[in-house]
Amino acid sequence: MDIVDSSGVPASGEYLTFTLGKEEYGIDILKVQEIRGYEAVTRIANSPAFIKGVINLRGVIVPIVDLRIKFNLGEPSYDQFTVVIILNIGKRVMGIVVDGVSDVIQLNSDSLHPAPEFGSILDTRYLLGLGTVEERMIIMVDIEQLMTSQEMALVETAAA
C-alpha cells in the first residue's frame, strides 16, 4: 500500500517533529508557517476546551488549538517553553500548542509504517503512519486532514 497524504503525493519529504507529553509527532514541514512562544490568548465563549482562543498574529486573528487537550495528553501547562506552531493550511492560518518542537527529519514513504487501528482518540484517518528514526517512533499526522476535520470545529462545517 502506498501511503499518500491528502494531496495525493507520496509522503516523503521533510517533517517537523514535536512532542506532546511523552509522544513524538511529525507534520509536513511545508504546512508550517512559523514557530513562536505561547502568549496570552483571547478566549472564545462556548467553544470546545481545546480551542484556547485567538491571538493577534501581526494583524491577523489566528485561532489557537491545544493539541495536548485535544489528544488528552496530561495536564497542559503554559510556561516560557510552551510552543505554538503556526500552520498554513489551505488559505487559513491556525496555531497548535505543543510541549516542544524537537527536530526536522527526512522521511520517505519506505520508512513509514501504516498505523494499526488503535481505537484511540486520534483517528487513523488523520495519520499518515508511523515513522522510525533512530529507534524513536514518530506518529506522522496528516495535519491538514486533522485541522480541517469536523471534530476540530475550526472551520465552518460543510453546510456553510
Partner: protein
Amino acid sequence: MSIDMSQFYQVFFEEASEHLANMENLLLNLDVANPSLEDLNAIFRAAHSIKGGSGTFGFTDMTEVTHVLEGLLDRLRKEELALRPDMVDAFLAAGDVLRGQLEHHQGGPEVDNADIRDISARLTQLAVGEAGGGARLETAPLKGSDTVRHLRLACLFPPDVAASDEAVNNLLAALAELAAVDTRHRPDAANGLLEANLTTSRSDAELKDALAFYLTPEDIALSPAAQPEESAYGFFDDAVTAPADDSYGFFTDAEPTPSGQADAAYGFFDQESAAAPAAAEDADGTFGLFDDAPGKPEALPNRDVTPGDSPAAIEGQGYGIYVDAPGGLGLFDNAPGATHLLKQPAVPEPQGTPATASSPTSAGRRLSDNPSVAIAKTGRRDTDKTVVATGADTSIRVSVEKVDQLINLVGELVITQAMLAETAGSLDPIQAEKLLAGIDLLSRNTRDLQESVMSIRMLPMSMVFSRFPRVVRDLAGKLNKQVEMKTIGENTELDKGLIEKITDPLTHLVRNSLDHGIEIPEKRVAAGKNPKGTLTLKASHQGGAVVIEVMDDGGGLNRARILEKARERGLGVSDAMSDHEVWQLIFAPGFSTADVVTDVSGRGVGMDVVKRNIEGLGGKVELESSPGFGTRTVIRLPLTLAILDGMSVGVGGETFIVPITTVVESLQPNLDDIRTLAGDSRMMHIRGEYLPFIALSEVFGLPGVEDITQGLVVVVEGEEGKAALFVDELLGQHQVVIKSLEANYRKVPGMSGATIMGDGRVALILDVAAVIRIGLANAKRRAAA
C-alpha cells in the same frame, strides 16, 4: 512570438464594463431632439474601444455586435441620420447584450443567440432605414465604387500608440474596412511610421476619419499613388510629400529613449542596411524608415537643412551616440548601414551627403536644432494623447486586496504606535522630552496616514446612483408612468464594501417607489399634481454616518390598507398604533399590499430583505409617509465597514467591544430596579420600560462580577428591541478596526468580529442582536428547567 493574452483579459473586462457603463450613461443623458456631437462621438468611441478590445482578445461575438452598433453610431455622428428615441432604446438593448456577452466571457451564463440576432437586425434596420436601402453599414469597401483610387498613406503615430500591437491592429482593421490596404511599414515601438498603399473608392476625409482616433487629420498625409504596383521609386517620391515634420518627429521622438531602446533601434538599423540592396524592388515594411531618409534631401532644402542631415540623424538616434561621434568621418565609420545606403541607386544625391555630413558646423547645428524640434513635437503629441486617454493619467487601477493589505498594515502601525505611546507614558517627561515630542508627532502622522488610507476605499455614491436612471427609465416605460429622477449628493463617499451591498436594497426601494408610490399620470393630474412624478435619491453625511434617502412624490402609504392586510395575515395590530409603528409593518416578512403580483413587485419579498440587509451593514431604515404627498425612506449607514466606533467593556477579565450605534445609555444599576420574572429571568426597570437583564458573563460563561451593584449596565438596542447588558466595567471608547474571525476560524455565536486593542491583544466585537437572542434563550431554558 506568442503572448498569453489571457493575462490581460481581466483588464479588458474591467475596461469594457467601464465603457459600457459610460456608454449607457451618455445614452441616458442624451437629448434626443438635439444630440450633442460630442456625446455621440463619446458613445461611438466607447463602442469602438469595446470592439477593438474584444477583437484583440478574440471575443468575436462582442466584436460583431459592436460593429453593427458602431455602424449606426457612425452615421449618427456624421449627421447622416437623425437620432430617434427608438435608436436610443436599441443602443441600450445592445449595451445589455454586450454586457451579457461580457459576463459570459467571465464565466456567466451564455447570451441567447436570438437576442444577439435580434439586436443586430434592429440596429441594421435603423441604420439602413433612412439610407434608402443603400446599406453602407456593413462594410463592403470596394462595392459600388464609382472611382477607385490608389493612394499613398503616410502618417506618424505617437510612440505609445505605435508600441501597442492592439492599437495598430485596430487601426489597420479600421482602414481595411474602407480600403484595400497594402501595408508598407507597420508602426512599431521603434518607428511609429505607418506607410501603406490604399486602394479605395472612399474620400480622403473618410480615410482620415478611420485614423482620427490617434491623429489629427493634418498629421495624415494622403497622396495619390500612380500605380499600386509601382514600388520603390514611386514610393520615395511619395514619401517626400509626407510632411517633413513627421519624419523629424520620428527621429527626435526616439532620441530620449534609454539605451535599451537604442539597442532596438540599432537592430532595426542593421536590418535596414541588409534590406537596402533589395529595396528598389521590394520596399517592405521595415524599409519605411529609410525611405524617408533618402527621400529627405528633396524635401529638406526648403527647410534650409543640408541633405546630409538625414542619414546623420538616423545614425545619431540609431546608435544613440550622436554626441560622441567626433566628426563626419567617425560618424560614417560607425554607420556601415548609412554608407551602404548612400550607394543605393534609390538615393537621389549620394555625393552631396558625405561632404556636408563631414562638416562639424552642420553636425553642431543639427544637435542644437534637434532638441527644440523634439520638445515641440513631443509636446504636441502629449496633448494629443491626453485627449484620447482622459482620466487614465489621474487614476490607477489597484486591486482591493492590495488596498486592504495596506489598510491592515496601517492598522498594525496604529497599534504599534499606541503601544509605544503607552510605554512612553511612564517616562520622565523632562528627561525624555524629545522622545515624547517625537511620539506625539508619530501619533499625529499615523492618524493622518490611517485616514488617508481608509479614504482609498471610499467611493462616491454616484457609483450606485448612476445605475438608477436606467432602472427608472425602463420601469416607468413598463408601468406607463412618467417619472423624473433626481439625484442629490452623488459625491458623498462611502466605503466600497458598503457601496456594493447597498445597491440591491436601494434598487428595491426605487422599484417600490415607482410601482406603488408614484401614480399613473391621469391619477396625478386628478389629484392636482404634475403628471410627471419625481423620484429623488439623496445622499449626505450626518455625523459619522451616511444617510441615503429615497423620496417619491406619489400617493404615500395607505395606513388603513396596511392595517387591513396585517390583520389578514394575523399580525397583532390595533387602530391606535402610531404611524411609525404601522409603517414598520411593511418590513414584516412576506408583507405586501399589492393585489396583483407583477414582475415589478408585489410578491411581498422585499422590504424585510431590505431591512435585514441594511441592518446587516450596521445601518437602519426608517420610513416616513404622508398620504397624497409621497414617501421617504431613510437609510442610515456607518461610513465604513472596516472601522467601528465601539465601547469597550470588561467582563471576567476579557474585553468586548459593543458597537456604539447600538448603545442607548450606560448606567450604574440600582438593586431595586432589577425584578425577577417567573423565578429566574430578570428584568430591569429603566425610565418606565422593563428590559430583559442579560449578564454577559453568563452568556459567555465567564467568571464575571456577581454583585449587581458592583457592575454596570449598558442599555443596547438591537433588531428585536432593547436590553440591559450587565458588564463588570466600562473601559473606554475607541475606534476599532474590524477583523474577520471567519478568515481563519469560524463564526462565533454572539460575535460579529474581532479587533486588536492598543496592547496588541484581541478583543471580540459583540453582535448585540445575537447576544440578546442568546441571553433570552438562556433565560427561557432556565425557566423551563
